[in-house]
């Protein structure tokens, strides 16, 4: 009886031909091709094309020869690495404090909400907020000067510099870390700790031999994600420094406005170099994420 109904329902809705099923996703793929793949391909092809339109690898080679370009990459990598490691450690400690660190429960949801906001609070408003805080007339600058008699600007600090940009990026970096690490820390099972303690492990031993090996992939993965997050940032840096700090995104921005490198192909190559670094870091992130899911899910 059931079999007959099954077979009739099969007849009523015959399995459509395979290619017809793909019609349903054509708009999406068309969109992706037109506004994501085609623009990326254009830059890719451009980076292998010389001024006369012939194939060349000269642009790629020139990336490694021109000092200003190498410096830009190096500056971007340094800023991204420092904010990824610093923001990563700080974010981890914060996530630890509100998950298993023994802080009252309401603080946890407060921190998570605030992290959601702060990791999305970037660009021009963030830059202005830091000018109001650590700029020449910023509040912290004034407090340090008037109360502690320390003039940080005379001491060599400058908001519109490497240090300043790093401090500003931190504002969206460590909240992102909190958002990624809080669920991972929740995944640490109480039983593991109890088992370790029953076997006579000290807190240090538990952390170094049980918890850390489990957390390490997601910790590293999250830091790599933070690296990519800072590496691709443009608006915050531009709003803060007005383009005076030549990180890669700023250089590419200048190249878009006008051919400052006097070689369009080199500009495309520079953009492709960025995509390359982003791709590597995100591949690393998703690989580590998969490794960490073995234990933390």
């Amino acid at each position: 009886m059931t079999q007959t109904t099954l077979s009739t329902s099969n007849k009523i809705t015959p399995v459509p031909l395979d290619w017809k099923k793909w019609l349903g996703v054509i708009p999406f793929f068309l969109f992706a091709i037109l506004f994501l793949l085609l623009p990326s391909m254009r830059l890719f092809v451009g980076s292998f094309t010389d001024n006369e339109g012939r194939f060349t690898v000269g642009n790629i080679l020139q990336l490694f020869e021109q000092k200003s370009i190498l410096d830009a990459y190096w500056l971007s990598i340094r800023i991204s690495a420092v904010t990824a490691i610093g923001g990563g450690i700080f974010g981890f400690l914060l996530a630890y404090a509100v998950t298993i660190g023994g802080l009252p429960r309401p603080l946890r949801s407060m921190l998570i909400t605030f992290s959601g906001v702060a990791s999305n609070f970037a660009g021009v408003p963030l830059a202005f907020a830091f000018v109001a805080t650590l700029g020449r007339t910023g509040i912290i600058t004034a407090i340090l000067k008037n109360v502690f008699h320390v003039n940080i600007y005379q001491a060599g600090f400058n908001l519109y510099s490497f240090t300043g940009l790093t401090l500003t990026y931190m504002y969206f970096q460590f909240p992102l870390m909190v958002l990624i690490m809080a669920p991972a820390l929740d995944g640490l099972k109480r039983e593991w700790r109890e088992a370790a303690e029953n076997l006579g492990a000290t807190t240090f031993q538990y952390w170094s031999q049980v918890a850390m090996p489990i957390l390490l992939p997601s910790l590293l993965g999250a830091m790599i994600l933070l690296f990519g997050n800072a590496f691709g940032a443009y608006a915050t840096a531009y709003a803060l420094t007005g383009g005076s700090l030549p990180i890669v995104t700023i250089q590419i921005g200048a190249q878009i406005r006008g051919d400052v490198l006097h070689n369009p192909g080199l500009g495309y190559a520079m953009a492709m170099g960025m995509v390359f670094i982003m791709a590597i870091s995100l591949a690393g992130y998703s690989w580590l994420q998969r490794v960490s899911e073995r234990w933390l899910r």
């Binding site: 996703v25 506004f35 021009v124 202005f128 691709g232 709003a239 995100l282």
Partner: protein, 294 residues
């Protein structure tokens, strides 16, 4: 008997736990330390912005900066425009992503991996690279490859074309968050059964999507929409390179000339982001999401 012993056992365990607690209940000094440090990092820049924005008159707390900022017709214009862009992005995103995710779940699981890969790509291609490519492609007449047949005029030369371009760009930027939240929303409802039920009652595809699927995933739709809103209003990179009169570039330019109004508007932007994220928390009760319009 067994039950009784296990109950007493659990009681013993519980009381043991309670005995052990006071020992662990030492105030977690380090946790507090990091938490307070984090809270200061969060709050100080906001406090500084607020404080600064209230000082337009000497020795007096005043909302004058806010009043002046809001009165600027340019502000009203750009802010309205950015909100319209956000709305267009959200609607176009829903129209494109919901049927796609639905169809893949229902009939085309083999397209799953490639779609996931595509929705992940915008993380690899940052906004500055995306706009670079978009400008290079769409600032010249678009031709059929290898021929001289023009498909359409350059998009960047007309208002309408630029609007299409920027909404499409924002859709790409928002795609990882929006597509995923739609997809996750569909994971929690049984799409197949719902579809079969609707079909057996004679519903058309359009009816299934608008009357059955959309209402069932409204929580995740809403969180995706709010996140998109937070990304788009205030976005600078795409807007400034495509030369549109949006709120982000306006705020940036304002900061070049004035001091107090930009601080006031920055604080307002923060409140808006806060509102969007708070609403997401409210609707999903989840961990909140992180975006990347940096």
């Amino acid at each position: 008997m067994n039950l009784a012993t296990s109950q007493t056992a659990s009681k013993v365990l519980k009381s043991k736990g309670q005995e052990a607690k006071p020992q662990n209940r030492k105030i977690p000094v380090w946790s507090w330390f990091w938490f307070i440090l984090g809270a200061l990092y969060f709050i100080l820049p906001l406090y500084a912005t607020l404080q600064f924005s209230l000082q337009m008159k000497r020795d007096e707390i005043t909302l004058l900066a806010y009043q002046k900022a809001f009165e600027d017709p340019q502000f009203i214009k750009t802010f309205t425009y950015s909100n319209l862009l956000a709305l267009a992005t959200i609607i176009a995103g829903i129209v494109l992503f919901v049927p796609t995710a639905y169809w893949i779940r229902l009939r085309l699981p083999q397209a799953r991996r490639i779609t996931e890969f595509i929705t992940f790509l915008p993380f690899v291609v940052p906004a500055i690279i995306l706009v670079f490519g978009l400008i290079r492609i769409y600032s010249t007449p678009v031709k059929i490859p290898f021929t001289d047949i023009e498909l359409f005029q350059p998009l960047t030369t007309t208002h309408f074309g630029t609007n299409i371009l920027i909404v499409a760009g924002y859709m790409v930027l928002a795609m990882p968050y929006m597509y995923r939240s739609v997809d996750i929303g569909m994971r929690t409802v049984d799409v197949r059964t719902l579809t079969e039920a609707a079909q057996s009652l004679g519903a058309s595809w359009f009816q299934i999507i608008t009357r059955i699927i959309l209402p069932n995933i409204r929580a995740s739709l809403l969180s995706g929409a709010l996140l998109t809103f937070a990304i788009v209003v205030g976005e600078v990179t795409l807007a400034s390179f495509l030369g549109v009169n949006a709120f982000g570039p306006y705020l940036f330019l304002l900061g070049q000339h004035l001091a107090y109004q930009p601080a006031a508007l920055s604080f307002v932007t923060f409140l808006l982001t806060w509102m969007a994220m708070g609403l997401i928390q409210l609707f999903t009760g989840g961990q909140g999401q992180a975006a990347g319009a940096h």
